[in-house]
């Protein structure tokens, strides 16, 4: 028994499972309260109060929502391709969840799933797999609106993925590493601009890259103003028209998981990760605060801007964002080359 407990493989597996469970449950909690926050913020932006009946201030609303989703009738269209129809909602959640493995939530090994030395590439691999859920969901439903939504979404996500990838290269050049932990460490110092001490976060070196990353993040997560795959005025509900009950719930969950994971990546790449004033033990708190600010930004934008037209979306992605991010890469590379590392 003692030998079994000291087996390094088993210890590795045990801690991996513990971390996975903690991250999974924390994220499920954040998702349900982000949805609640979204409804509240939307309500106040439209001069309403939002949900306020279930529990104090409506705080138990997420539980009621999930309960309702579970008890809904599950409906599968007669001509749908059954297996793919079932797999698509799972594919919507899994890549979004896997991304959290590389996010350093705080200082030290305990707060990061694994310090992969190609961490950022894992994020891009997972976001390129995320396209499948929506495309397949739309295709398997055997519904014209769903198919149109799915195809729109795949075209949109492929187009914006390029600009997103290029916008992070500036950060990689400054940090000199693909590991998320290394990227956070590279932002740990303070810059002294005269009497002012400013943290050396990448947002100050790469403001353009941060702007491009956030815009493409909206497009990748199919959030307004880029929510064309589910434009209800023209496509009923887009790719999830035929989905009901918890299958719809999984698509919904996947969308919000994606928002959270992409915000975690943005915090890590551009906002200094867990760095902040005070002792290192406050790292997790700083991370959560920055994450909360970005999530609020996502909600704020959704209820402020109207949806883009499809040709505007494509023109913007290919003719504006892509050249800008390429220019940013060239400029950053030149600066890093001539200053020998740190800008």
């Amino acid at each position: 028994m003692a030998a079994l407990l000291e087996n390094p493989d088993l210890q590795l597996a045990f801690w991996a499972i513990v971390k996975v469970l903690v991250i999974l449950h924390a994220m499920l909690g954040i998702v349900s309260y982000m949805i609640f926050a979204e409804r509240k913020v939307a309500g106040h932006m439209q001069a309403r109060t939002g949900p306020n009946r279930v529990g104090p201030f409506g705080l138990f609303q997420p539980i009621a929502d999930v309960g309702k989703l579970f008890f809904k009738e599950e409906f599968i269209p007669a001509d749908a391709s059954k297996v793919i129809f079932h797999i698509a909602p799972m594919l919507a959640v899994i890549p979004a969840l896997v991304t959290f493995v590389i996010v350093p939530f705080g200082p030290g090994d305990a707060f990061v799933g694994t310090d992969l030395n190609v961490g950022l590439l894992l994020f891009f691999a997972m976001s390129s797999l995320g396209v499948y859920a929506i495309t397949l969901g739309g295709w398997a439903s055997n519904n014209k609106y769903a198919l149109l939504g799915g195809l729109r979404s795949s075209a949109q996500m492929i187009s914006y993925e390029l600009a997103m990838g290029l916008s992070t290269i500036g950060v990689l050049l400054i940090a000199g590493s693909l590991s998320m932990v290394q990227i956070v460490h590279s932002q740990a110092r303070l810059m002294h601009l005269g009497p002012l001490a400013v943290p050396a976060w990448n947002i100050f070196f790469q403001p353009l890259a941060f702007a491009i990353f956030m815009i493409t993040a909206f497009a990748e997560t199919n959030r307004a103003p880029f929510d064309l795959p589910e434009a209800e005025g023209e496509l009923v509900a887009g790719f999830h028209t035929e989905y009901s009950s918890m299958k719809f719930g999984l698509f919904f969950l996947g969308e919000y998981m994606n928002v959270i994971s992409i915000s975690c990546i943005a915090v890590t790449l551009f906002l200094g990760g867990w760095n902040g004033p005070g002792p290192q033990s406050l790292g997790l708190l700083w991370f959560v605060l920055k994450l909360g600010a970005l999530l609020f930004f996502f909600i704020w934008v959704r209820w402020t801007f109207p949806r883009l037209r499809y040709d505007q979306l494509m023109n913007f992605g290919w003719k504006v964002l892509l050249p800008l991010s390429l220019g940013n890469v060239v400029l950053t590379a030149l600066v890093v080359y001539f200053t020998g590392g740190r800008p």
């Binding site: 190609v118 590439l121 691999a125 797999l129 499948y132 295709w139 195809l151």
Partner: protein, 179 residues
Amino acid sequence: MTPYLFIGFAALLVTSSLLVILHRNPVTSALFLVLAFCSLAGIYLLLQAEFVGMVQIIVYAGAIMVLFLFVIMYLNLSHDIESGVQIALRRGTGWLVGAVVVAEGLALVGRHWFPGPFLEAIPGPRVGNTQQIGQALYTRYLFPFEITSMLLLVAMVGLIVIAKGRTAPPAAGDSGGPR
């Protein structure tokens, strides 16, 4: 643990690759191809080639497979009826190429050029192989690398010419609207 993981990934890879060619529905075949690419990426990870593994998913499973799915969906291959001669020709070529590949594999294994699956990994320097690949690409293999990118550029320009060149420009005064 590594041998067990290798067996798992390898079994998944072989099964899904077989299903790619054996399954009747082209969309399902394409999905099994994605699974095959992902399990191949897993094997790369076991070989400590993290960069190659991730790029395998990003490039093959992500980008190419989406385009492949587009083609399958638009062509609607399940209703594509071909004449017997074409099928016979294709099957014949398939068997021929397959036989050659199997013969090659047998020859390689027979002469012990592959030492077997459970070779100990050679520990490389722990700087991460992204850096090493980058340095190799931009110094030793710079010329082939640039030639490849030129090739892709030519293909891209050609595609745009084919897509746009044939349509005549609208005549003067033609609003292009319905008549």
